[in-house]
Symmetry: D4
Subunit: 219 residues, 8 copies
Amino acid sequence: MKFSAYDRILFTGDSVTDAGRARPVGEGLHTGVGSGYVRVVESLLAAFYPELYLRVSNTGTSGNTSRDLAARWQTDVLDLKPDWLYVCIGVNDVWRQFDSPAITSSHVSLEEYEANLRTMLTSAKAATKGVTLMTPYYMEPLTADPMRARMDEYGAVCRRLAAELDLPLIDTQALFDAYFAHRHSSFVAWDRVHPNQTGCTLLARAILDEAGFDWAHRA
Amino acid sequence: MKFSAYDRILFTGDSVTDAGRARPVGEGLHTGVGSGYVRVVESLLAAFYPELYLRVSNTGTSGNTSRDLAARWQTDVLDLKPDWLYVCIGVNDVWRQFDSPAITSSHVSLEEYEANLRTMLTSAKAATKGVTLMTPYYMEPLTADPMRARMDEYGAVCRRLAAELDLPLIDTQALFDAYFAHRHSSFVAWDRVHPNQTGCTLLARAILDEAGFDWAHRA
Amino acid sequence: MKFSAYDRILFTGDSVTDAGRARPVGEGLHTGVGSGYVRVVESLLAAFYPELYLRVSNTGTSGNTSRDLAARWQTDVLDLKPDWLYVCIGVNDVWRQFDSPAITSSHVSLEEYEANLRTMLTSAKAATKGVTLMTPYYMEPLTADPMRARMDEYGAVCRRLAAELDLPLIDTQALFDAYFAHRHSSFVAWDRVHPNQTGCTLLARAILDEAGFDWAHRA
Amino acid sequence: MKFSAYDRILFTGDSVTDAGRARPVGEGLHTGVGSGYVRVVESLLAAFYPELYLRVSNTGTSGNTSRDLAARWQTDVLDLKPDWLYVCIGVNDVWRQFDSPAITSSHVSLEEYEANLRTMLTSAKAATKGVTLMTPYYMEPLTADPMRARMDEYGAVCRRLAAELDLPLIDTQALFDAYFAHRHSSFVAWDRVHPNQTGCTLLARAILDEAGFDWAHRA
Amino acid sequence: MKFSAYDRILFTGDSVTDAGRARPVGEGLHTGVGSGYVRVVESLLAAFYPELYLRVSNTGTSGNTSRDLAARWQTDVLDLKPDWLYVCIGVNDVWRQFDSPAITSSHVSLEEYEANLRTMLTSAKAATKGVTLMTPYYMEPLTADPMRARMDEYGAVCRRLAAELDLPLIDTQALFDAYFAHRHSSFVAWDRVHPNQTGCTLLARAILDEAGFDWAHRA
Amino acid sequence: MKFSAYDRILFTGDSVTDAGRARPVGEGLHTGVGSGYVRVVESLLAAFYPELYLRVSNTGTSGNTSRDLAARWQTDVLDLKPDWLYVCIGVNDVWRQFDSPAITSSHVSLEEYEANLRTMLTSAKAATKGVTLMTPYYMEPLTADPMRARMDEYGAVCRRLAAELDLPLIDTQALFDAYFAHRHSSFVAWDRVHPNQTGCTLLARAILDEAGFDWAHRA
Amino acid sequence: MKFSAYDRILFTGDSVTDAGRARPVGEGLHTGVGSGYVRVVESLLAAFYPELYLRVSNTGTSGNTSRDLAARWQTDVLDLKPDWLYVCIGVNDVWRQFDSPAITSSHVSLEEYEANLRTMLTSAKAATKGVTLMTPYYMEPLTADPMRARMDEYGAVCRRLAAELDLPLIDTQALFDAYFAHRHSSFVAWDRVHPNQTGCTLLARAILDEAGFDWAHRA
Amino acid sequence: MKFSAYDRILFTGDSVTDAGRARPVGEGLHTGVGSGYVRVVESLLAAFYPELYLRVSNTGTSGNTSRDLAARWQTDVLDLKPDWLYVCIGVNDVWRQFDSPAITSSHVSLEEYEANLRTMLTSAKAATKGVTLMTPYYMEPLTADPMRARMDEYGAVCRRLAAELDLPLIDTQALFDAYFAHRHSSFVAWDRVHPNQTGCTLLARAILDEAGFDWAHRA
């Protein structure tokens, strides 16, 4: 596994990451990391790898677009000096285009999204052991859905940037698509965005698989 | 318009109808009819036709399937002696098959659905001036979606029964499908089932259109 | 209809407009515009004209007199750059004279009311596609009532200013008077000021009628 | 004053009397009698006549019509064996005709009102030292108001019955009418039914005046 | 009565006066003056003298000693420009000596009390039509009680200052002492300081008697 | 000390004993015995005598008079089979005579008090290792106070019964009287009935002193 | 893995299993199974094996001893007709001996524990595809701790019964002991009984390992 | 006893001392000192020594380490000018090493602990009549427990510093160890840190024994 003892692993993004985390930084006792996928990651790491002492932190903020995240990047990411960073942003960049089509100032265009991401990822890459980019997703397997189609464009930006900057990528959309071969999206999330405990377990598994987590490891 | 002065118009069904109505019968002061489409119907009738005195009642109950509704049909529908009855049931008959696939006892099959509906509608038709059947719906325009596809089978039962029993039918699925030509479903409901105020207005408009409501009427 | 795609329509005034709107600006998801007549306007526009993308905003504030509104005019109206503006103010200018007669500093005289309105309307007219003035009202059909009589004086100011500034006017008092030919005021509001859902529907209908809303339009 | 030491004085009626009283019987410590006019009566009696030990009780129930009160007359009035009884009922008999015109089953006709009252008053007169009838009222001085006009018919029944049964009467409508020569109804109650502390003081003063309360008495 | 139309009557002091008043100034609608003796005064004035328009305000603050009140005298008394002022302070100056004997910094000595009062009263006398001083009290008729005895010393300061500055005085201690000839203190207050509705009525009666209130007046 | 290992010690009475105990029987984890003097007794016994395993239980009920306690004596005392019983009842028998003088049915006369106590104590004496009677008290050192004087009569009944039945007695009134030589009653209780933590410690100390508790014992 | 499609897997026990589950049966939407280890099991099964449709149910009840569980065995276990049953009971049988040593009636002896377990397990074995016994545990690695030592005796009963009845056993004590080689117990539970999310993950992993769960399985 | 009349006794530390104290300084009425051991000390002093007037204050703050306490030493200790000071700090310095091993910035090393303590104690010694140091503790009698072992190192620092600075020391660890000869730690605290009422009584007894409290004293 790529994490070493005492590494600090920081997750940031929007409400999917936030999930009720503590303020100003989500970590420590009493569900400090929130009750979302970050907690599943944290508990799996702690349960399977007690011999390591991995510090899991969370600065996701509900409602954030890439524009909002970029504005707090210095204090909520760089200043925390993470060893490893996970970024999952973009759902709200797209969602507002569909649930609030008339409030255009709340929309973040594909171009701005790419610019925001590039700036953030570049600065973080230079300051950490590794930055992993998680694509935004829409838990809708039918690509004919306009919001899914639009989300795919943002996901493509992630893939392009990950390649350009040589960053590992977690294709969350592909992950959920595969799952929907077996279950309907309403089994995992009622609004196709906020995963329940099963959806969080899927995300956590993908994150850990990418990190080289050994599921057969018994400390 | 088909309603006469002092007619009692009863709506029943599941959470879409319920919407926080008063107990035991939803009517009267202080949002007694709940805050869903029934309230939009009530306020449009009262605003446009103050010269009529139409009593709007609501016995929708959240979570109900057609099986649950059939079990309380006597007390919550027939005993109230409505002049006009609107029934919208079936969403949960289908939904549980997708969000709780392992709890099969909570699923209501197409056959049982039809039997439940036939029994309820037949008894109500004999006791009222008119029963209007509202199809269940899934606010998903893509018919390839499995839950949408399944819902269409239940909607087809409604259409068949309406024809068989000679009842007016409101095809709510067609109504929302038409709307999704312009807006994404997330604009009207985050979970594709519970309509927001705009979605409720669409349902109310369809109900009133069918009833011969004259939008140009100014009392 | 006079609204074009992506127009921003701003409503401002007192508690009748406020109705629990979001802060700092009432708009967007989750009843951001409050639960009053602005929401009825918003949902009717969205339901009947989905092909337009009209942004409805609300900066009404409970308890406001015209003096209070004038003090926040720049930030809560002009800075938001609305395309269309609706102003409904004056009820509290009068009400305080009757429910708090000894607290004279809370009363706004007819002269001050006119001055406040003229300043606000003049600046807004120059900055928008159109300003519609809604008269204050008292849901009391008997003009012998002293508060109704006083409110009529303030309503006359509105009519005079609308003519002077060539602004469309919605005579809400006349609207309710017509309604009270059929129903008692307690059917629409228990305190003769805050309309229930039926009263809000009456206001919304008048606003939309003035705007050229086509009730027969089916997108 | 007509009350003797240790007399039990019972007030009953609707929400005007109830005002949050304790259950099952409103009396005793900690605002047991509620926060309405009964409390003002209680505190004036206790402050001015501490040498008497008058027990003030309250069984008013919000929402009651004369029909509801008649149904609980035995347990909530006669069984308590009051020395003096005050009855104020009828507001809701009329109000429902105006705020809920379509729900006719909630209306109590003039004939039924008279029958209910006669039965209740006759039984109570035989069992107490004195029954005082308080007319229902509508805090609207303009008799052209239809609800006021209707309330006057119910008040006339009270006057006729008081004469017939030789009971003292408190004409609450006349009391408020006199007050409205000076103040607008909104100063005393926002909904023209539920009095604020000033309105409660007016009611209490009338009750005590009728009972021979000596305001110059200083124990 | 000494009050003229539109006079502003201000009450200030500690929790006995405060009683949950509105902030920053207690007055106006919805129990703005709190639920204590000030409200009883307000409602009696409004009920008996509707032809006057008396503005009743309250700036009592729970827990205040004369030291605390002196510190906010400018903003909470003088700046409000009252016509008539009522001051009731001193209970906490004494009480802390008995319930918190070791926290001597919370005690206000007789000398400081006198100095505080003299400063406050002098400035207020010059700026109003009249200042009425209400003595502090302890609802304990036995003067052998040490806290009662101590309170009497503070009351004596009030009497001396009232004479010195030629101010009307309400001897609240004498008022309650007279009452306790008939009732035990626990009937009026459980802690011998905070009066219930009956105790508030006694205070209000004394205030109004001093002001020349005519209880036989019927507007 | 008179308690042996595993003895069950039951306290019963009114709100002074109750103090928020668990239902149906106050004992066990998480402040099961309430937060009053019983908890102080329990914690002192557990801290000083850990080598004993004493079960402390509490069935005090707020508001109880001796009449109320007698009515639940079988289930709340005898059925619990205590080894040692402490009874403290009578405060409310007297209090209601002073705070609710007109509600005479809530008063318990001296004669009834004695009869209630005799019946209860006799049955309990036969069934336990020992019954200790605690006198009711009023935290008022001045015997001229009428409620104190009345309470002394009830206390005298306790002394007489304790002598007659040969039961140990804790004279709580004498205990508090001695304390008031040093501190004012408001230091221990604001209403002269419900002791704060210091007052509870005084009661607990007296109970333990009587039981032969050795304060110098260090396990 | 031993579970087949549509199998019902029931967990029962005390607060460790309960964890806020729904009533009467914990299952279905919205954290119906509670927020403890059962939820981790449920989400891992659903995430890794979506092609199976496993129904996870929970009837754990906080505070239960084996005596309490035996009393509700028919309704809360057998009547639910589970395919697979997991039982984790005994912690409270022991805990009460240490935190409530004087309340001996709350203790369950080793003999009674064994008898309760044998009765329950025998009946369940005959009615299911498999019963798995989970030992009680105390998250204390030092066997010199008296509660740990006592818990080991109860765990030994489990081992003996599992062998006697040929049931699979999950030795939770051994599981935690192994973990405490790396982390202190306070990392997993503050009271050594109720596991946090990491502790729950450890329990869930052990349950799934025993069931033949394939961690490398990717549907 | 070493305390003199009117001495101010200040307790400071972490959550064990805090226990819900008032802000900014915990003292005075209504459980100002919190509900922990400081309250037991306060009530025993007040009950046994009413002839003294000892002021007990509390500035413990939950979660504090010695680093946190040092940072607020001036305002929360020295500025309050206590006569006697009790310091109990260090539990969190150690606890975070075990419950949050990966968040190393929250750990306070033995060296820093000693430095923090020395600075604080030295300044306080010069400014008070006496400083008493209470060792940190872990309610675990088995010294093989790693957190207990680590805590012993911090306790040793306390002993060394107390000797060096000639300060009285309360060895809370020894106190609890002695108690655990009779009872299991779960009887006194579920998490081995926060004492229940019995644990608080043990701490208070030790504090008072050291201060020369005479348990036989009866004022």
